[in-house]
Structure formats: structure tokens, C-alpha cells
Symmetry: none
Subunit: 225 residues, 2 copies
DNA sequence: AATAATCTTTATAAAATAATTACAGTACAA
DNA sequence: TTGTACTGTAATTATTTTATAAAGATTATT
């Protein structure tokens, strides 16, 4: 394998320097971002093999950045934080963080955790743009196109479509869709789905009475193709 | 998904009890081993979905157990330890541990790390496809094909076919089929079966008057081949 | 505060599926 | 041959599920 690339997102210069020296002397290529915004940009323009994310960033809460990244980035993200609160750790891990280290951390341990994360996350493929027939979604820019024309979707419509496209070809159950979009406790509100699938179809299907993309699997769920 | 099974390998009874209560109340099935040797045996005879391994075991060093497990076991192994030495952590991670927690640990954090570990180990099992002649079923995507063409099956038809394919070649009794698909109390409704086997045959058989796949075993049940 | 956009709920008609009935065919034994 | 038990299929009815519009409720925006 080539040199693995690691993106550091941290506002403290001395931490960045420390990390850079340690990582580079261990054969990694390092890219640095000093803010969450910058980090998101770098990650999108040239996806690294792993991201080290400081969760106590000033511009945007690190948790926001994490959620944002996880909408499309599926390689390891290791959180660094001065916070040692359990709530913080749990929420980060449940939002898709691969690991969580409390500052000050031991560099040997960090390096081992990086090796472990890269090892287990090897076979993941990702791209920020998914194309499926005449529908195209840019998960970073949050833009949806039909035949090169930009569609205007509401937040929920977008989330639903993104979920469909990430699971193209699979039948997604009502249960699953409701859990992913609306969260636990909404898993029986099948009617929400019907309404939003309906409005999505009006926007993405050529003829919404004969849907080619979102097909219904009666009694089970929906499938995107 | 079914209940995930977690194997605890720890010699301290109070830790085992604590873990058991917390894990079971979170929907996991728990198996306990009190020594490394026993743990290896359990793991081999019935591989769990995740292993919690105390690294300070008396009989064999936990590191040995870890190495031993990793020779064949590739699901998550989370280490629990009273040791907070960096060397210990690095060596465990480099020997294939998925994560390393220092006792006393916070149960909320442990649970989050378990969820994270199970989650990241999932995307490797992306397809469970059973092929049988010209019929193909993808149990994850919930899609059935005949000669590469996607068939449109109703929920009950799909369930029935999936059951047949999971038991290819075996004779399945009316009783069994009815119990599996319709549940207890329907085991005498043989007519349901006739109707649904009939409609399945129309969809999957080349000539449904001369079924090649779903063969009837008169007086007993049906067999898929 | 007023307006617009979006989400949540309700109501209802249409469509799809499942359950039930009826009946014809088939194999086998008395 | 006749009767019986079992099977397959078409047709009918019942039930469930889905699609859509539209009315309230909420949220965001100006």
C-alpha cells in the first residue's frame, strides 16, 4: 500500500505540530486543517484514509462536523478531545466515530489505534457523488440532479433520497427507513413514509404514476433502482 | 437482525455479573467463560458476534488468548483491563484487538464501543445470495431473480421461497411450512400452502404444470431442488 | 408579526394481497 | 369400479396496504 493519508482537523497549532511529527515519522502523509469548515472542504476535495478530529473546535461543534462527514465519508474517524464526559463519548461513537481518545493522549497508543482503525476499515469504498440512472446526488454539497437539472428538495426529502441511493437495489423496510430518518419511536408511523415517498416521486420520477426509481414492495418497504 | 451474542471471558465474578446485567438489558445474548481456556473452547464451538476479553487472566496471559483467537476469529474483540500501561494497550491493539478499555470502565461508554465495533464489522457481509439453478435469492437485498431477471413476489411468496431455498433439497412438511410462515395456530391450514405454492410455481417454474423446483411430496409436504 | 415553507395528521379512494370457497383432477386401495 | 384422501387452480370475498389530497401544526424567514 501507498502512504496512508491522514487529515488532522484541530485548531491548536501545538497539537497539530505534535501529531504531524509523529505521524510523518511513522510513514503517514499528513494534511492539516485548522477549522471544521476547512476540514470538511479538504476531506471532500481529496478524501483521506483516516481523519483525526478534535471535537472541541471553535467554529462548529465537532459533533456537527462528525455528522456531516459521516453523511458520505465511511473510512475511520478518530476523535480527539479534552472532554472526558461519558455523554460526549457515547454520542460521538453513536454518530459514527471509530474511536475516541482523551487529551492528553499517549502517542504510542494513538498510533496503535490508528493502525487498528486503518486495518479494520480497509475494504471500504466511498464516493461523495452517487449516480443512478438519470438521478445524481452529491452528498457533500447536498445537491440532487435529474438529467443535469438541479432539483429543489426539502430536508426530509433529501435525507430519504440519500438513504435510498446509499442502498441502491436493496429493499429497505418501513421500519428501517423510519428509524433512520425520524429516529427511534417513529417506526410505526408508516404514513409519514407514504407522504414523503409520494412527494419524492413527483420530483424525481418521469411519470409518478408509474415509478421507475422508487418501487414499492407491498407490505415490506421500498426499493430504489 | 437477531440478538447479537457476546462472549465474556473474565475471571472476576462481579465483573461478569455486572456485564451480564448491562448487556442483557440492552438486548444482547451473553455467554460467560471464567478462564481463557474455557473462553477459547466456547468461541470455537459457537463463534459469538463479539468477545469481551479480560487481559489479566490467571491461567494464560490474556495476550496469548488474543493471539490465539485472532488466528481464526475475525469479529470484534474488545479488551478489558486493569492495566493502563501504554505498552499493554499498543501490544493488544497490534495483536488484533478492536478496542481497549481500562477498568473501571463506564458502562455507557462500553455499550457505545460495543455498538461501534459491531457496526463496523457489519459491512463486510453485504450479500447473502443463494443460487439454485436458474433461481437466485439475495436475502439481504430481498430480491429474487430467475435467469437474471428480477421477479415480483408478494411478501408471503417471498417468505415461502426464502424458506425453501434455505432448506434446499430437504423435504419440508406442511406443518413446518405453515408454522414458519403463518405461525402457530395455522398448522392445519394446508390449503393456504396449496394456493401460495401454486402462485410461486407460476412465477419461478418454466412450466408450472411440470414443476422442476418445487416438488410435492404427497401426504408430507414440499421439497425445493 | 406576517408570511411562507415544511412537516404532521386525517380522511378517503384505489390497489394489492391474503383468506376462503368451490370444484376438478389424480392416485390408490378396497 | 367406486370411494377416499390428497392435490392444484380458478374465482370470490375480505382484509390490508398504498397513494393522494388536503387540513392543521409547526418552524423558519422576511
Amino acid at each position: 500500500m501507498n502512504k496512508a493519508e491522514i487529515l488532522i482537523i484541530d485548531d491548536e497549532p501545538q497539537i497539530r505540530k505534535l501529531l504531524q511529527i509523529n505521524l510523518e515519522s511513522n510513514g503517514y502523509k499528513v494534511i492539516q486543517a485548522t477549522s471544521g469548515k476547512e476540514g470538511l472542504m479538504f476531506a471532500a476535495s481529496h478524501p483521506p484514509d483516516l481523519i483525526l478530529l478534535d471535537i472541541g473546535l471553535p467554529d462548529k461543534s465537532g459533533h456537527e462536523i462528525l455528522k456531516n462527514l459521516r453523511e458520505w465519508y465511511n473510512k475511520p474517524i478518530i476523535i480527539l478531545s479534552v472532554q472526558d464526559s461519558e455523554g460526549d463519548i457515547v454520542s460521538a461513537l453513536d454518530n459514527g466515530a471509530t474511536d475516541y481518545l482523551t487529551k492528553p493522549f499517549r502517542t504510542g497508543e494513538l498510533l496503535a489505534r490508528i493502525r487498528s482503525a486503518i486495518r479494520s476499515g480497509q475494504n471500504t469504498e466511498n464516493s461523495a457523488v452517487i449516480v443512478c440512472g438519470n438521478i445524481e446526488i452529491d452528498l457533500v454539497a447536498r445537491i440532487v440532479k435529474r438529467d443535469a437539472e438541479i432539483l429543489k428538495l426539502t430536508a426530509t426529502e433529501y435525507n430519504l433520497l440519500a438513504l435510498f441511493l446509499k442502498n441502491e437495489g436493496k429493499v429497505l423496510t418501513h421500519h428501517f427507513l423510519l428509524k433512520e430518518i425520524w429516529g427511534y419511536g417513529y417506526q410505526t408511523e408508516t404514513q409519514y413514509l407514504r407522504v414523503f415517498v409520494g412527494s419524492l416521486r413527483k420530483k424525481i420520477e418521469i411519470n409518478h404514476n408509474n415509478p421507475q426509481h422508487i418501487v414499492t414492495e407491498s407490505g415490506v418497504g421500498y426499493r430504489f433502482q
